[in-house]
Symmetry: C2
Subunit: 322 residues, 2 copies
């Protein structure tokens, strides 16, 4: 048994998920615990350390058999320095030297990675991208995150901020984004934007079977919009179709700029499966050029919420990256 | 003297330019000859071979002292296979195995590279980007070409078609592009698009000091538009400003996707110097986010038309790339 087991941790505002990755890249002994983010930085790091201990015990390993621990975390960070600059969903997490502190606590090498990058790398090593050399992944959730793998390595950007696909300006002077820009892709094609755009249209007087929900301020999300569309609601159908169209435009631009082998759609919206993938492909086909046979394959992610753990563990094992 | 001299060739529809690159990366003994493209593939390859002989003689070298010859060529190609698929300005150049044929003719290793990539790599090794690790270059000419250097290596894309920045869709459902798409950046911000947009505005009835020229179908270009703008022509000033704004939008998207250290503006339009750079920077500042200090520096290219030769020679010497 070589020291090529690794632990992958996916640190979120609500849960901390962890798993042991075997030398052949399989995720085993998964655990999920509450983050208890309100407890602050030291408390959360303590919980992460316990999680590592529990996973090592689950796997009947000793720590010396682990190559290290990879942590996928939210928010702007420095991978090289191992510092989380700011994690909006984790109170008090400002300029936390996670790699150094956590490594000292657990006595193992730690790699810190942006959660969207970790998930993209997970799909690359063990998911939708395991046969390809380059991919771009779009994680379609509250916002749109992204990760870029080129020739088998994560491209993190000079400022560790590459792959912010949600903030590609897609509509000049378009919808305002909390980031301060206008027309960002995630204001059109994130899971939240789908629900939001439908609400706005209803409030502006368009008719929809979801009107009562909207006017009663009931919580609803992209799933309701898709269900309404599939039940014949014309407005919901238009909103869903436009969403797929904006995503396709984003992929057209990925094609021309990065020219990857594969584009992977992940995150909440991708649970719609073929109802997302097929119209996105059709709009891509319609909107992009035909003069060169250089279109990426477009596919759904296959690892679900395990992608981040698998990617983080793989990065801890191999330290791959530019 | 080691075998680290290299020849760089920039193959264009009108001229073939060549130079010898010294081991310390300086371009010497430059020559430019007519392409005589009408003569066909074999004729042009013969002229390139003569050019190499002449340059070797100029530099008082023997061929054994050369690491190889790098050729920057237009049009879609396969770098790995060394094949030019199609060069619109070179009649008969369809699926030409340039690397193999030319290497056999001159008895030296040959590297084939897309001309925009070669120029970007030139600016990286010896020009505006010689102090950085990553850059994206926009070549603003008849169209808009691009090249991407990440961590010191060219990213060519899976299909050798990365960096097609001119075809980033910038305005959804916007101006038609000969490529078949709508709203491509080069339909707004290439040197030709500047003149073209002014013509259209005049023909649509807007007033301009360039009106007589437009209506008489006189040839004019972006330089005339800028000169008119600087002389107080309101329409020309608006067209120029919009051009800078579209370029800034493109750079916003490069920032978020690739997060490079530097963005380099090259090509005909960049001859406007600060009259291009300063408004592009100002619009970028206005249009992009302030929530992370991850903006690339934006700078003008410094090597002019030597960039392609220098980059091609450097690639021949080092074979750098993904």
């Amino acid at each position: 048994m070589t020291a090529s087991y690794a632990v992958g941790i996916d640190l979120g505002g609500t849960n901390i998920k962890g798993g042991v990755c075997t030398p052949d890249g399989q995720l085993r002994f998964r655990r999920s615990i509450d983050t208890q983010a309100a407890g602050g930085v030291a408390h959360v790091l303590g919980r992460m350390a316990e999680l590592v201990d529990d996973l090592v015990r689950d796997a009947q390993l000793t720590k010396t058999e682990l190559a290290g621990v990879g942590v996928g975390a939210p928010g702007p960070m420095s991978h090289a320095a191992g510092v989380v600059h700011n994690a909006p969903n984790l109170p008090g997490w400002v300029n936390v030297p996670l790699r150094e502190q956590f490594s000292a606590m657990i006595g193992l090498p730690v790699v810190l990675e942006n959660d969207a990058n970790a998930a993209a790398f997970g799909e690359y090593v063990a998911g939708a991208g395991r046969e390809v050399h380059s991919l771009v992944m779009l994680t379609l959730g509250t916002g749109i995150g992204g990760g870029i793998v080129l020739a088998g390595k994560l491209w993190r950007g000079h400022f560790d901020n590459a792959g912010e696909i949600g903030h590609l300006v897609t509509v000049p002077d378009g919808r305002a984004c909390p980031c301060g820009q206008r027309g960002c892709l995630e204001r059109y094609a994130s899971a939240s934007a789908v629900a939001e755009r439908l609400c706005e249209a209803v409030r502006a007087g368009e008719s929809s079977t979801l009107k009562a929900k909207v006017l009663a301020n009931e919580a609803f999300d992209a799933r309701h919009v898709l269900a309404a569309a599939d039940a014949g609601d014309a407005l919901a159908a238009r909103i869903w179709d436009e969403t797929c169209q904006y995503l396709a435009l984003g992929i057209v631009n990925l094609r021309h700029l990065l020219n990857p082998e594969l584009v992977v759609l992940a995150g909440g919206l991708s649970n719609a499966g073929p109802r997302l993938l097929e119209p996105v492909k059709a709009h891509f086909e319609r909107l992009s050029w035909k003069i060169a046979p250089d279109a990426p394959r477009i596919a759904l992610a296959t690892l679900g919420e395990n992608a981040g753990m698998i990617g983080a563990a793989a990065l801890a094992r191999a330290g791959l990256g530019f």
